[in-house]
Amino acid sequence: MTAVDDTLRTEAHADGPVLEAAGVTMRFGGLTAVNNVAMTVRQGEILGLIGPNGAGKTTFFNCLTGLYKPTEGRVRLLGNDLPPKPRAVVMAGMARTFQNIRLFGNMTALENVMVGRYCRTSSMALTSILRGPKFRREERETRARAQELLDFVGLGKSSEHLARNMPYGDQRRLEIARALATDPKLLLLDEPTAGMNPRETQQASDLIFRIRDSGLAVVVIEHDMRFIFNLCDRVLCLVNGEVLVEGTPNEVQSDPRVIEAYIGSAADDEEGDE
C-alpha cells in the first residue's frame, strides 16, 4: 500500500524485533498495576493483548507510549531505548489510538489527520509568516498525505466533515488515520472495535490486515475474542498486571488458565465461555 510506504524504510532492521519491552512495572503508591511484563513485537505481525477488565492492559499501553513513566523496566523501539515522553515516542515511530476516542472534535477529519503530520513536518514561525515556497510545498504535501490516509481508512469522502459529527465507527477509523499520519513503525490500538456492530468490526479487521500488509507491526487490545483470535498472529494474556500466557491464538484459546481467569475473575463476562 502506498499509504504507508515510508515505513518500509525499516526493512534495514528487518531481522530485529520492532518493540522489546522488558520488566515493565508500574506502581501507583501501593498498587502494582503492571508487574514485570515483557513483550516483543516482530516485524509485520499483529499481536493481541487480552485480559479481564482491570488487568492492566491500558496502563501497560500508557507505559509504552510515554503517558506514564514506568516504575521499572525498559522499552526499546527498533533497538533504541524509548524515553518516557509521548512526543519522543511518536517521533521514534510508535503511534496509538485511545480506548475512549480522543479526536479533536471541532476540527475536520482532514485537519485531524494533518495534526498527525505535525511531527513529520518542520515549518516554523518565520516560514509560516513569510509563506515561501517551502511552506507552500509542505502544506500541499501534508494535505495530500492526509487525504491519502483518509482514503486508505475509507473516509476519503468525509474529509471536510467535523470529527464530532461523524458516526462512531468512522471516528474510530479517523483516529487510526491520525495515528498513521505520524509515520509509525508500530501501531498500538486500544479497543478499536469497542461499541461497533459486527459489520463495522469486520471492516476494522480488514483495515488492520491492510495496515499490517503495508509493513507495520500492530498491537491490539481487545475484549472481543472472536475478533482477536481471527486477527492476531500471537496473543498475550494479561491478568492482574502479569503475563499469564503468551502464544498463538489457538494455544491461548485452549489454555485452561485463560478460561479460568475470565470465568473465575469475571464470571459474568460473556466472552469467558468461549
Binding site: R120, H161, R164
Partner: protein, 581 residues
C-alpha cells in the same frame, strides 16, 4: 433545508415568544402589511417635524423639516422597515425569499418603539418636562407602535438559507464596498458627535440595526461573501483605514482617539494570539507593552533618557520586541507546564512585578534605567528618514496633524500583527494550537510539541506587544509605571473576550468599543469598571464566543449543541466548494 433555516433565523428560541407576538398580531393580521407600511411612513413623517421645544436637547431637534441626528436615525429605521415590508410582499419579494423579513420587522418595530419612548423620555428629562416634547416626536412614536403591531400580524415564513444564495461576484463585491463605506462614514460621523447622550443613542441604534439584519439572516450571507472574497475585503478594509484621517480635516481630537484605539487594538491582537489561538490565559500582558515602551523611551532623544546610545528607531523597535519576547520566555518557561489557572495567577503577579520594578529602577534601589515613579518624560516625536511625526503635513489640500502621522505608522503595525496572526493561525503551528486547546494530552500523544508551541505563543505575543510599546512611548510623550497597571491588562483581555477570541474583526470591534466609549462618554469613563464588568457577565451568559465568533471557538463553547455543529459543517462545505470554484 428547512431545519437549517430554523437555526439560522432563530425560530427555535422564539418558540415560547410566538404566543405573545400572535396575541398582539392576530386581530390585525388581515391588514398587517398596510399597517407596517403606514407605520413606517408615519414614523418617517414625524421625523420631519419638530420633536423638542428647546433647541439644546439631544443635538437640535427643534426645527421643522430639518431633521437632527436622532431624527435621521429614525428615518433610516423607517426606510429599512419599508424595504423589509416590500420584501415580505411586493416588488422585492424575490429578495424576501432569502431574508426573514417578518422576523426582521418585528425586531425593528420593537426596537424603534423602545427607541422612540427612550428619546421622548430623554427630551422630557433634559428640558424639564414632557410638555416640551413637540408633536413630531409623538407622531413618530405612534408610527413606531403601528409598525410594531403590524409586524406582529405578519406571519414569519421559513426563508431560504442565504448560504445557498449564489449571486454574481460583482454584487458580492458591491456589498463589501457598501458595508466598508458605511463603516468609514459611520466612524467619521460617530466621532464628530459631541453630545454624550446623542452618542449613546447612535450606538444603541447601530446595535438595533445590526441585530435586525442578523435576525433577517443578512449577516450569514455577508459572512459567506467575506469568506469567498477575502482579498477584496482585506484590500477594502486597508483602504478604509487608510482614508479615515482624510475625513477628519486636520482635527487632532478625533485622530488622538483613533491612535489610542489602534495602539489598544494592536496590543489586543497580540494578546489574541496567546488567548484566542493558543488558549492561554495571560493577565499580565500589559507588562510586555510596558517593556517595549520603556525600551522606546530609554533609547529616545529625551533629555531624561537613561541610555546614551541613540540607534535608528527601527533598531529600537527590534530591541523592544526582543526584550519583551525574552521576558515572555523567562516568565513562560517555568509556568507553561502548569495548567490554565496557575498560569493566570503567575502572569498576574508578573504584571505587578514589572510595574513595581519599573518604579524602583531609579538609581537608588537598582540601576538607573527608568527614573522610578517619575518615568521618562519629554520623549520627542519620531523622525524616520527625515519625516517628522510632530509636524503637520498637507496632502491633497487636507491637513494631516501629528496624530494622523502616528495613525499611519500604527496602521502599518496593526497590518503586520494581523498578517502574523492570520498566517500563524492557518499553518502547521495554528493546527497545533487548536489541537492543544481541544485535547492537550491527545495532541502530545500525536507528536505535537505542546510545550514549545505554548511558549512560542507566549513569547510571540510578547514580541508584538513590545513593538507596539516602542511606538506608544513616542505617541504618549512620556512613560511612567502607572500607565501599566493590572486594570489595563484586564481591559485588553476584556477586548479579546468581548470581541471574539481567535478573530481579527472581533478584537478590532472589542478594542474600539472599550476605548471609544470612555473617551466619548463621561459617565462611562466614571463607571467603566462597573459597565464593562456587567457587559462581560452578560456576554459570558448569552454569547461566550464574543461579538464576532470564530467558528471553532463557537463550537468549543457549545460542545453539546449538535445543530450548531451541523450548521458550521454545512457552511464549511459550501465555503470549500466556493473556494474551489
Amino acid at each position: 433545508m428547512s431545519t437549517s433555516t430554523d437555526i439560522d433565523t432563530g425560530y427555535a428560541d422564539e418558540a415560547d415568544q410566538v404566543s405573545i407576538w400572535d396575541r398582539i398580531g392576530r386581530p390585525v393580521a388581515p391588514f398587517a402589511w398596510p399597517l407596517v407600511l403606514g407605520g413606517a411612513v408615519i414614523l418617517a413623517a414625524g421625523c420631519f417635524l419638530s420633536w423638542s421645544y428647546t433647541s439644546d436637547v439631544l443635538g437640535n431637534l427643534s426645527i421643522d423639516f430639518y431633521p437632527g441626528a436622532i431624527q435621521n436615525l429614525m428615518i433610516i429605521a423607517a426606510i429599512l422597515a419599508v424595504l423589509f415590508a416590500l420584501m415580505y410582499r411586493g416588488p422585492l419579494s424575490r429578495l424576501g425569499e432569502w431574508l426573514a423579513s417578518a422576523t426582521a420587522l418585528r425586531t425593528l418595530g420593537l426596537g424603534s418603539t423602545v427607541f422612540m419612548a427612550l428619546v421622548i423620555a430623554l427630551i422630557g428629562l433634559q428640558s424639564g418636562g414632557l410638555i416640551n416634547v413637540m408633536p413630531g416626536a409623538w407622531v413618530s412614536l405612534v408610527g413606531a407602535v403601528l409598525l410594531l403591531v403590524g409586524a406582529a400580524g405578519l406571519t414569519p415564513r421559513a426563508s431560504r438559507d442565504p448560504l445557498h444564495a449564489h449571486l454574481p461576484a460583482w454584487l458580492d463585491i458591491l456589498t463589501i464596498v457598501v458595508l466598508l463605506a458605511t463603516v468609514l462614514f459611520g466612524a467619521a460621523y460617530v466621532l464628530d458627535i459631541e453630545d454624550g447622550t446623542v452618542f449613546s443613542l447612535v450606538v444603541l441604534f447601530t446595535g438595533l440595526v445590526a441585530y435586525t439584519l442578523t435576525r433577517a439572516g443578512f449577516f450569514t450571507w455577508v459572512g459567506i461573501v467575506a469568506q469567498t472574497h477575502r482579498r477584496v475585503l482585506m484590500l477594502g478594509a486597508v483602504a478604509v483605514a487608510f482614508l479615515f484621517p482624510f475625513t477628519q480635516d486636520g482635527s487632532d481630537a478625533n485622530m488622538s482617539i483613533a491612535t489610542q484605539v489602534l495602539i489598544f487594538a494592536s496590543t489586543a491582537l497580540g494578546l489574541n494570539i496567546v488567548v484566542g489561538l493558543a488558549g492561554l490565559l495571560d493577565l499580565g500582558y500589559i507588562a510586555f507593552l510596558g517593556a517595549g515602551a520603556y525600551i522606546g523611551a530609554m533609547f529616545s532623544h529625551s533629555a531624561f533618557a537613561t541610555i546614551g546610545w541613540k540607534p535608528n528607531f527601527l533598531v529600537v523597535v527590534v530591541i523592544g520586541a526582543l526584550v519583551s519576547a525574552t521576558l515572555g520566555l523567562i516568565i513562560g518557561s517555568p509556568t507553561l507546564r502548569v495548567s490554565g489557572d496557575y498560569l493566570a495567577i503567575v502572569t498576574l503577579a508578573f504584571g505587578e512585578i514589572f510595574r513595581l520594578a519599573m518604579g524602583n529602577l531609579d538609581g537608588q534601589d537598582g540601576p538607573k534605567l527608568t527614573n522610578g515613579p517619575n518615568g521618562i518624560p519629554a520623549i520627542p516625536d519620531l523622525e524616520i528618514g527625515g519625516f517628522s511625526f510632530g509636524e503637520t503635513h498637507e496632502v491633497l489640500g487636507i491637513t494631516l496633524g501629528r496624530f494622523a502621522n502616528y495613525y499611519f505608522l500604527l496602521l502599518l503595525l496593526a497590518a503586520f500583527i494581523i498578517t502574523v496572526f492570520t498566517r500563524l493561525n492557518d499553518s502547521r503551528i495554528g493546527r497545533g494550537w487548536i489541537a492543544i486547546r481541544e485535547d492537550e494530552k491527545a495532541a502530545e500523544a500525536m507528536g505535537v510539541n505542546t510545550f514549545g508551541l505554548k511558549l512560542f505563543a507566549f513569547a510571540g505575543g510578547a514580541f508584538l506587544a513590545g513593538m507596539a510599546g516602542t511606538i506608544k512611548a513616542h505617541h504618549d510623550v512620556s512613560v511612567t509605571p502607572d500607565q501599566y497597571i493590572f486594570l489595563e491588562s484586564a481591559f485588553l483581555l476584556a477586548a479579546v473576550v468581548l470581541g471574539g477570541m481567535g478573530t481579527v474583526a472581533g478584537v478590532l470591534i472589542g478594542a474600539t468599543i472599550l476605548k471609544l466609549m470612555p473617551e466619548k462618554l463621561r459617565f462611562v469613563a466614571d463607571y467603566r469598571l462597573l459597565i464593562f464588568g456587567l457587559l462581560l457577565v452578560l456576554m459570558m451568559r448569552f454569547r461566550p464566543e464574543g461579538i464576532v465568533a470564530s467558528k471553532r471557538r463557537q463550537l468549543e463553547f457549545h460542545e453539546e449543541d449538535e445543530e450548531l455543529a451541523d450548521r458550521v459543517e454545512e457552511v464549511h462545505l459550501v465555503e470549500e466548494q466556493e473556494a474551489k470554484a
